[in-house]
Each structure stands twice: as structure tokens, then as C-alpha cells.
Symmetry: C2
Amino acid sequence: MSAFVFVTPTWPTAPWVSAMRKAAPNMDVRAWPEVGKVEDIAYAAAWLPPPNVLKSFPRLKAIFSLGAGVDAILKDPTLPQGLPIVRVNDADLTNRMSEYIVLHVLMHHRQQRRLDASQAKGVWEGFAQHAAGDLCVGIMGLGVLGQDAARKLAMMGFRVRGWSRSPKNVAGVESFAGAEGLDAFLAGTDILVCLLPATAETDGILNRALFARLSRKGPLGGPVLINAGRGRQQNEDDILACLEDGTLLAATLDVFKTEPLPASSGLWRHPRVTLTPHAAADSEPGTICAYVAGQIARFEKGLPLENLVDLKRGY
Amino acid sequence: MSAFVFVTPTWPTAPWVSAMRKAAPNMDVRAWPEVGKVEDIAYAAAWLPPPNVLKSFPRLKAIFSLGAGVDAILKDPTLPQGLPIVRVNDADLTNRMSEYIVLHVLMHHRQQRRLDASQAKGVWEGFAQHAAGDLCVGIMGLGVLGQDAARKLAMMGFRVRGWSRSPKNVAGVESFAGAEGLDAFLAGTDILVCLLPATAETDGILNRALFARLSRKGPLGGPVLINAGRGRQQNEDDILACLEDGTLLAATLDVFKTEPLPASSGLWRHPRVTLTPHAAADSEPGTICAYVAGQIARFEKGLPLENLVDLKRGY
């Protein structure tokens, strides 16, 4: 009988094993490094797999990526070639990411940090507020996560635009695409949200040259960056310098070049930075395992796996 | 020719006069106390009018309430009887209130204050997060504002219920009504949002006896109060005491018994209180005046005024 294995060295595996056993009661569920007989293993679910682990399963049929970004699997230099890799596309995870994006866009729009400072000083201080429709939120990356966040932001009243590799058609969202669309996209964006997949093309994309092209006409007094994509997409020295010289007004960051963020980073205590510990959209074992079990059931019935990673694009 | 007057002693009148002249270019627009000949005045728009001012206009035909709550007008002991009072029902104001409610529900749900504290200490500290669907938000008051907030919270994934004087039918929102429905409403509510109109029946309704009936089964560890209604609806000593003994976990307050909130109030520096200076939903002169001018144009054509206050209900 074929077995299933979790390869998640940086996570506690017990809740995952228990959730998978619940989602697929007849499955033989294991967790690396206690993999048992490697010939049994037909399916692996992974996050940051160590080199040579996935490779050691000779009868592996499919790999599931636990988490929205598949870069954590693709960076395994010994990744077995030719196997289908399924991206977890889970409504629960999508919803959590949209919560994060809507929350932090609203915090900037409603100037919550300014209100926090007034409260801390004991000062009753109102100020003129703008309408959501006076702000344009630009989302880089219009995949499942970006499209859901875009729809919810539009419903809250913001003007929303998106930028992606290829043009997308999302109701109420102005779409820009490719290198040739980037300038126009940035020039009209007041709050920039990054939800890009981590690929060679997006590495370091959030840098001074890009920030300098953002709109400076919005009612906040300067552009805002929200990065819930990947830390390798941002130049953290540029972010700090741009906050200092006014190229950026403020930033909310969930991801960092090095995680946990080193204590020496100037981001920790910058008054206009809100940072969260890579917690924008947690993978919840119950719903993720239900999704994985459903895909395996399809596959064993001879139906195609869904939501496959395109290895050429890298996401 | 008939004239229009603003009676807003606590607001700067210049932006309102200018917005109204733009919305109704042929109107003779004045601002108290420079009212000119009182016989000219056919329409008044007011917020906290001093006694005897509205009464002094012998040919007044209608009164417009600037702001969502009409209690600011009804408390005028010399309010002329028998005149139509129009409640401002403006999509811009509704949208701003929903921004505030969605923002503060999300801040509690995503434990933003805990994350703020970790950042201030320089500690990278994730924690288990729950899904929006694990929380039930209960909205007291399902008028225009409550219904819009309810729809947007449901769209974000929260379970939403509402309590109002009479049962309401809002898609995706469980409706409870009247004194007989209050217990069941509170027992299932994790985050309580107050958007009630200020009437004799709702005075002091947010007190210890009510907080004690809220759900204690939710994932946050205790119930949360968000009041964006009116300060006279809340017992502030009860709120502080309930935060201390665990009857409430946290509170976000936009309104207070006395505004500005006195420096002596313990709410200012309570670590689990977020307070804002009655700024949840500002009245924006441009959109409000366009609404008022539109109603006057209808009225002068012989059409009925819309959104009239029911003086018996008090809202």
C-alpha cells in the first residue's frame, strides 16, 4: 500500500500528521525523518525540504507544496525531475492573506499609527480624512491571492489596479502587465502591495528605483509599501533609506531577507514600519490536508491533479 | 428668494458654506450666527444647534441633520415641531463607518496589538491564528450603517449576526430582534459592535450586565467591544472594570460620555483599549451637501423628502 510523508523540517509535524490522518483515514501517513521503507512512499508534502530527501523516494508520484509559495520546494537542488508539483490553493489560506492585506491597507488609509501616537500622548486630535476612493492600491501579482485581495479592497471602496506577468481580467481592477506596463502601473499607485511569486525575475524588485516611480499625488503624502510576498524580493537597505528621505512614507512588512529578522535590523524600531513575523497567511493543517487528500483521491481515480506548478515560470 | 443656513456652532463653517454653494449655485447660503433676515430662511442644516436658533426661523420648511445620528438635533429643547427632519444618508459616510468597523474587527481578530508589542520589544514571535469563520461578530443596530458593515464583515469571512428593534433580513446575517432576542444574540457574539442610534432605550445599554452575557467560547479568549455609536450608550466605569476582571478582553471606542475624553479617564492609557477621537465616519462637506441639495431640489419640485426621521422612534 502506498504511503504519504511530510517533509517539513522547520515545522512541528504532529498537528500535520494528525490532520492528514483525519482527512485520509486509510492513508499510511509518515513524517520525515521517520520515513520507514522509502519504496512505500507515493506522495510527499513539503516545506523547505532538505536536499536529497525527496530524491530518496524512488516511487514518488506527486509532491504537494504546503504554503502559497512553491519557491520553498523549488530551491531543493536535488528536486526529482518530471514529477507533478501541486500548489496548495486553499480558500482558508487565501482568506487569511486577504485579511492581512485589507487590515494593513486600512491601517495606512485611516492613519491608525497617527491615532495610536495621539492616544499614547493622551491627546484628542482629529484630522481631515480622505475617502477610500481617493486612494489607489496597486497589487503586484494577480494570482489567486492577489485577485481575492483586489476584489475585497475594491468592495471596501478603494480604487484597485494590478500588475502581473500576463494581463488579467478581474472585475473592477485595472490590469497592467509585463515590463512595458510597470511604469504606468506604479505612477498611479499610492499603496503598493506585493504578492508576487518568488522567482529569479522578482528577486530584489522592491528597490529604490521602483519606489521612486510610485505616485506622490495621493492624500497620504507619500507612497506606502506592503510586502506579503517574499523577503528576497525586497532591498531592506533601500526601504530604510527611502523611508528616511521621503521616497516612501511608510511600510508594512511580513517577510524579510533573513527570517527571523536579525535584531540588528533598523526595521524593528523604525516609527513608520509595521512588521509581522511571516504570519500574513498561516497554513492551517486541517484545511490544507483536506485539500491534499482530495487531490490524491482524484489522482488515484485517474483524474488529473489540479493547480500544478509550471516549472518553466517557477510558480 | 428662500435661503439656506448652516447651524453648526462646533464646526468650522467655511468648508460647508463653500461646498453648499458648489452643490446648489443658485441658493442663498448663510451660516449661523450671520443668518441675515430670519424670514428668508427656508432650509437649515444643523449639528448640535443651540436652543432657540432653529426656532427663530419663522418660515423654515425642513431641517437636515449633518451626521448619521440625529440625537444632536433632537436634543434641542426648542426644536420647532411638525417640520420634516432629514437624516443624512450618504454612501460616503456609510463607507467610512464600514472601513472603521472592518479595520478594528480585523485588528482584534489578527491580534495586531500583540504583534505591535512584539515588534516594540524586538521579538520575532508567531502564534497560532484562527480563521475569520471561527469568530462571530454581533452588530447592535442594523440600519444603513449596520447593514453595510455586516455585509462587508461577512465578505471577509466572519460569521455575522445583528440585533435590532425589529427583525431585519440581510443576506448572510443572522437577525435577532427586541428585548426577547438579546440574550441569544449576545450568547453567540465574540466581537460586539455597537452602531445603535442614541435614544432613551439605548442609553447606558453597554454595561457590565450586558458584557457578562457575551460569548466566552471564542478563540480570542474573551469578548471584545467596539463602540462607534454614541458615548451615552456606554458605562465607562463598567468597561474599565470589566477589562480588569476579564469580563471583556479588549475594547475599541470612538465615542465617549464626554468629548473630548477628559485627561483623567483611565481609558486613555489602558493597554487593551484603542481609542479614536469620534472620527469613525466624518461628514464630508462635498458629498453631504450634494445630498442635501438633491433633497431640496426634489422638495421644490413637489416630490417628498427622503430618509425622514421618525420622531416617535427617535431616529
